[in-house]
Subunit: 575 residues, 2 copies
Amino acid sequence: MPAFGCPHLRLLPAWIVRYPRRLLADDLTAGLIVAVLALPQSLAYALLAGLPPQAGLYVSILPVIAYAWVGSSMVQAVGPVAITAIMTFSVLQPLATPGSAQYAALAACLALMSGVLLCAGSLLRLGFLSQLLSRPVIQGFVSGSAMLIVVSQCRHLLGLEASSGDLSAIKTALAGQISGGLHPAAVIGVSSLAVLAFARSALANLLVRAGLRSTWAAFIVRLMPLLVVAAATAAVILLDLERKGVAVVGQIGAGLPDFQWFIPDAAQVSLLAVPAALMALIGMVQNIAMAQALAIKRRERVDANGELLGLGAANLVASVYGGMPVGGGVSRSALNVAAGAQSPLASIVSALVMAAIVAGLAPAFSRLPLAVLAASIIVAAFSMIDLKSLREAWAYDRADALAWLATAGGVVFLGLERGIELGILLSLTALLVRASTPHIARLGRIAGTEHFRNTDRHEVETIPGVIFLRIDESLFFGNMNAVEARITSELAETPTIHDIVLVMSAVNRVDTTAMEMLCDANRDLGERGIRLHLAEVKGPVQDRLSRSRLWPTLTGQVFLSVNDAFATLAAKREN
Amino acid sequence: MPAFGCPHLRLLPAWIVRYPRRLLADDLTAGLIVAVLALPQSLAYALLAGLPPQAGLYVSILPVIAYAWVGSSMVQAVGPVAITAIMTFSVLQPLATPGSAQYAALAACLALMSGVLLCAGSLLRLGFLSQLLSRPVIQGFVSGSAMLIVVSQCRHLLGLEASSGDLSAIKTALAGQISGGLHPAAVIGVSSLAVLAFARSALANLLVRAGLRSTWAAFIVRLMPLLVVAAATAAVILLDLERKGVAVVGQIGAGLPDFQWFIPDAAQVSLLAVPAALMALIGMVQNIAMAQALAIKRRERVDANGELLGLGAANLVASVYGGMPVGGGVSRSALNVAAGAQSPLASIVSALVMAAIVAGLAPAFSRLPLAVLAASIIVAAFSMIDLKSLREAWAYDRADALAWLATAGGVVFLGLERGIELGILLSLTALLVRASTPHIARLGRIAGTEHFRNTDRHEVETIPGVIFLRIDESLFFGNMNAVEARITSELAETPTIHDIVLVMSAVNRVDTTAMEMLCDANRDLGERGIRLHLAEVKGPVQDRLSRSRLWPTLTGQVFLSVNDAFATLAAKREN
């Protein structure tokens, strides 16, 4: 299949125009499966975000279609996801009471603002910013967030009345419960948790050993959350558990929701600007990483800026329809691929099926106990705590492992925003540290040839008083200090040097700072009677440098090749 | 002279232990000259910082000795400087009334906190962070700050009563003055400004043309501020201008000041933390840049972390003695070098001379008019507005020129802190953009040799279905996406590829993210029947990679040289 390319702002996305009819059956089935299986997840993540559970269903309709229309990935699935949900909760909880109308309005504003930022980022071609974060930082962030999620859901799981989600409040309420007898919600929650955990960890193997085909086994495992949800709802209805204080989803209005418009005022904008930007960044990183992983497997290409636009559009639509920020989900996309999706049509089908479910069956969820949703969130969150990545980073590169730990610790102890800020800071510092030490080789000529090699590793000829330094990276403000330091140390080691040749064969760019530092070095060396030469300067670099004040003041020459320089300077010495 | 090295935490600095006696006369003279000539500057910058002018004299004593003892530069001079002064004013003005005891206490806290941060930075070896800022950003920051300085000093210059320094207030007051007759302070201020500006711009040339030796001419130019200060003070005393409303420095206590201790409380710490950090960063950047420029000329080496410690120690001492943050000044250091300083002894001498002046002559400054100090600040500030650097950057590299403008504009319109934050963000984004596009060459063999060259530029042999990609940079989270994209585009161009050889001769490091992305690429390519090989992997990189999960899963081989790989894969094809 050819790459579909970037569908920026076309009326019809490229994939529809060239849609191969043979994929239709696959996409229809996949859409149906995804809609049904993602249903409990969608309810649960809305709950996690502090919103009414049905919001998760609503944003699985139009926002999903918006992404399918605009996004660049073929099989990525967008919708309510865990990280976006916990970020929403963490941002809004200090500002409004979860469940209140004000909270819902702020959540819609958050979706709107992060949608605007994502679209703006796409138009400004800022997709490369997704590289701002290294994997250990992302893994640490996700793992730390997952720990927060587990803690936040404990009270729903156990049917506790504690209004805050922190550990000590849970402990107190738990102690009260233990002395007073177990809450029926806790029974439902813990048993659902046990079943779901078992389904995730061991069921597939067991079924395969019992003789089932592995695809069927995987399907049954994926079906389990739905079965647990159905069983728990049945238990609530049959045993009339609502009367015994089991919290349930509550009345959901039948039919599809209306559009809603929330325009944030200036105060809300300034309150939500940084959280919305961080949310956009995290959403972008997750979405692009997932989309790229999927695209490589399918021999397709993902356009990062196209992905930004898709995710932005999905969030803009979500802000007016459902009112919950959405993201590109790992589990959602995995489900989509496993179900056999071949194009965004599968997502569109899943959205239509979801719309049908919401229109017809929504009231059926009204007696679904919250404890079951909490159990499914906790199981999903546990699988997000990625200690294996920490172990691997520890074995491979301690610095990266420390970045993992710092980010996860930052999330858990300082909060999600501070955690991700710490992670970004660590990523950028790492970048700076690495970029600040360019590889520099002192060259000599292999006798009888025109080849030049590192004097440290090869037997080479040199010219007394002349050194050849090859700089193996582009020169910019971050690494010119290292070049200067190297020149200084070479001069300190060999005070008789009178000619320095910088071999620029690997230098693709010299920024203003580096150019000025070269001018300074040229002048300062000149004052000490040392000439500075350049060799093998690339065309574009030479074009720029020749316009700068380095060219007219250069104390030495510009040689086409190292060999020219070597021959010329050796001859000069002999004269 | 040998490099003096890093004097970290020794009892006696290395330069004292090995002090060559022949330098003594030079250092003594230089110290004397610097103390006298830097005097008006020191008063003026304290005024700029919103502190009593004498604070500038006080911090020219013990903090200067502290830097001389601990710092690593031989001729750098530390003391009250313009940028640190305007930053102090900009940070503290919203928090307290300039001149009040609370303002003075906050200034001391700011010096203390930035001293602590600098010392901590030195111990954590964070000197490399001074590379966070590119030159256009620094130049833009300094130029923008200088514009702010000029505006802030206009009211002192013109003897206006307007309490705020903004332009509209000045205009109003000025209009009132023009209708009511010129203020005598304005006469003094403007005429001082004219004399000083003339001295800076044209006097030296004139004197040289009149037959004076150029060193003498330069000395006279440097002496001018002192002469102007003396003349203005004489005018105030003789004409009794204080009665006519000319603001003067006011009573300065005779003798040396006492030590003072200000321990900031938690609220002050959280209020001043970010400003102190930015101040430490800017101080560090200026100080290290200046120290390095001086060291290169003198064939010495500067230890960035030693500089941090020196500057930190100076600020710690300043917080208890004088109470004004200090920095490494361009004009101060230039004065020091021009006066013939050879070692930190010159600074110590200047501190002792300053102590003598303060102890004996301080009361003489009590009738010095503020308008003269404002004039000298404005002249200094004008010389800091570096439009030439903007023009050069514009001609050389538009992106850098835009960074200059954005930073300067940020400083002027959003304030100093926001301006420098914007600058840092731009620098890091530039770094990221550049680092995210590694140079990748597709290689082929030059017929009949063992040399491999870029297929785009040379006539080379290739093997059908096999590509050799040489990556010319270390692999890390920021550029692996580009490597993946390149692989994907090569595969899209030539779908028959079955072997990819990554030539790692220029790869010095592969971080955890890059290693994981290599693993993913290896797995995904493997699923499509494409083998991934590595060639010329450097020793340290191979050590690490062989511990990772890439090694056991690699679908291809690891070749010692590109030629090995070429021979093996060509032979395979023929079989």
